[in-house]
């Protein structure tokens, strides 16, 4: 058992080292920064409504782009071992499928979370650029990190591991993921094209399919529309529930991936 844990630790450290040189995280971080930071700077920091806009830009950058980044990094890492020419070199090794899959998964999740901390820190200090003496309050940013970004990153990483062990090809896994991940926008398209208001029940249902959509209902409004000051309050139960659901679903997907890898080895 200790030996397996030692191998797992080495796998995670190796993954962190390898991904450090992967251009995908730099491109993704640049995209998140462009999307979030530019919006935040344009909106300013002084009045609360526009601060809310800056905060939502942060949510968007964090949740959407970090979700996609997690998938790209994890799927890319697995594709290097599971593609046709390389699979044999992995499967003939004595490493346990559990250790291999968990090493890849945890390594990539940790890597993305480290970048997320950098991204959050860059948002927190925005007020300093406007001559303020203090940074943004930390609590709302932590709420987003804990109840939205973390479940999203865990879930997207697990999806990457699962889709890659299932299809073995990043060219198959990627479109499947993107269609699923971005499909929330598709629910809006037909209504928007007809110039009608979105069917609230349908939208609400569709949003529950994803961890990355901040739409928990709070009274008459949704969390997506909540102001920055609302988020200074403790999170609503639905956020807890959804974060828990997708965080729990992730290990299930990882376990399924281990079974798939075991089956691949014993074919």
């Amino acid at each position: 058992m200790n030996r397996q844990l030692d191998i797992l630790k080495e796998m995670i450290l190796l993954e962190l080292r390898v991904q450090r040189r992967n251009p995908i995280w730099i491109i993704s971080l640049a995209a998140a920064a462009l999307l979030g930071l530019s919006e935040a700077f344009t909106a300013g920091v002084l009045d609360w409504p526009t601060t809310n806009q800056a905060f939502r830009a942060y949510q968007l950058g964090c949740v959407m782009i970090f979700g996609v980044m997690t998938f790209l990094l994890t799927a890319g890492s697995l594709s290097r071992d599971l593609s046709d020419g390389r699979r044999d070199l992995l499967l003939c090794r004595p490493i346990s499928p559990w250790v291999y899959i968990c090493g890849k998964y945890i390594g990539n999740i940790l890597f993305v979370l480290c970048i997320n901390v950098l991204f959050m820190a860059s948002f927190l200090i925005i007020p300093l650029f406007y001559g303020q003496s203090s940074i943004y309050p930390l609590r709302p940013f932590l709420y987003v990190t804990l109840f939205s970004t973390l479940p999203t990153v865990l879930y997207c990483g697990a999806l990457a591991v699962f889709l890659m062990t299932l299809s073995r090809k990043v060219i198959v896994a990627m479109p499947v993921f993107l269609v699923y991940f971005l499909a929330v926008a598709l629910f809006r398209i037909p209504e928007t094209l007809r110039g009608r208001a979105v069917d609230v029940d349908m939208l609400d249902f569709s949003m529950r399919l994803y961890p990355h959509v901040i739409s928990a209902t709070v009274g008459a409004s949704t969390l997506y529309d909540m102001s920055f000051s609302h988020l200074l309050q403790p999170p609503v139960p639905e956020l807890y529930a959804r974060a828990a659901l997708y965080s729990a679903l992730s290990p299930v997907l990882v376990a399924l991936s281990v079974l798939l890898l075991r089956k691949m080895r014993n074919s």
Binding site: R3, D6, I7, K9, E10, M11, L14, R17, V18, R21, R80, S83, G85, R86, D88, L89, L90, L91, C92, R93, P94, I95, Y100, R265, N266, S267
Partner: protein
Amino acid sequence: MNEKTATAEKVSLEGLSLRYGSGVLALDSVDLEIESGLFGLLGPNGAGKTTLMRILTTLLRPTGGMARVFGHDVVRDAGQVRSMLGYLPQDFQTYGQLKAWEVLDYYAILNGMTDRKKRRARIEEVLALVGLADKRNQRASQLSGGMYRRLGVAQALLTDARLLIFDEPTAGLDPAQRVRFRNFLGELSRDRIVLLSTHIVADIGSVCDKLAVLNHGRIEFLGKCRQLADRAEGRVWQLCVDDAQYEQLRNEYAITSMVDTDHGLQLRLLSETKKDPGWQSVVPTLEDAYLWLINSSDAHEQAA
């Protein structure tokens, strides 16, 4: 040496068969024993060489018979077998963006080498062994074809494996690289079993003591290289012909070599009997014998 100890020192296959889901019989009751040294596995494309190697590396489960690696069953004790072997697949590909030592570090971790100091020391040893010590910091994608292949060998040597399996290791190498590589394989085989699969006869002839020829999933020959060559004794002929005669002969006989000389085309061909007084019997090479064996096997298969 008792029977159990003897089994623990070799690779043994008993009635090994594999039928794919599509119904194709890739291996048909193969019996084979491989002891320490360099053992060659020769056969045309599709003969079952890669299937046999994939069974030994635990990548495929046989549908019949048994394969044991140093006394361990490849199905029941797959984990132990994996920890005792090094494998270089036919189309070795790796992380191009990693440096040579990092590629080896990655595979060493997959092999369960957790002690970082020991791992790094072993990587340096292996890099020196394959002559890549000065390329340790070069990215894998920037290595030449021969160096890339040697990196593949290096990853197979990381655990000091007792069984090394190389599938078509010289494919894509230039002649000088091939010779160096073959000699290197010879050195490796001094204290372990090296199983070399190829369809390049010269590779086997120059380094292997024993070989097996596979065709249609069956062992057609098992023995020493010289014994195989001897089998074609009196069946290899040399003659000089013009273009018209050549066109006629090529349809009737297997021609193993053709050289354009001042006196016409000098041919080496395979025939059970001397059909023309101008034909001269020559000493068969391993390649002549191999082609004769494969042709006979194909003819027998067609007749059946």
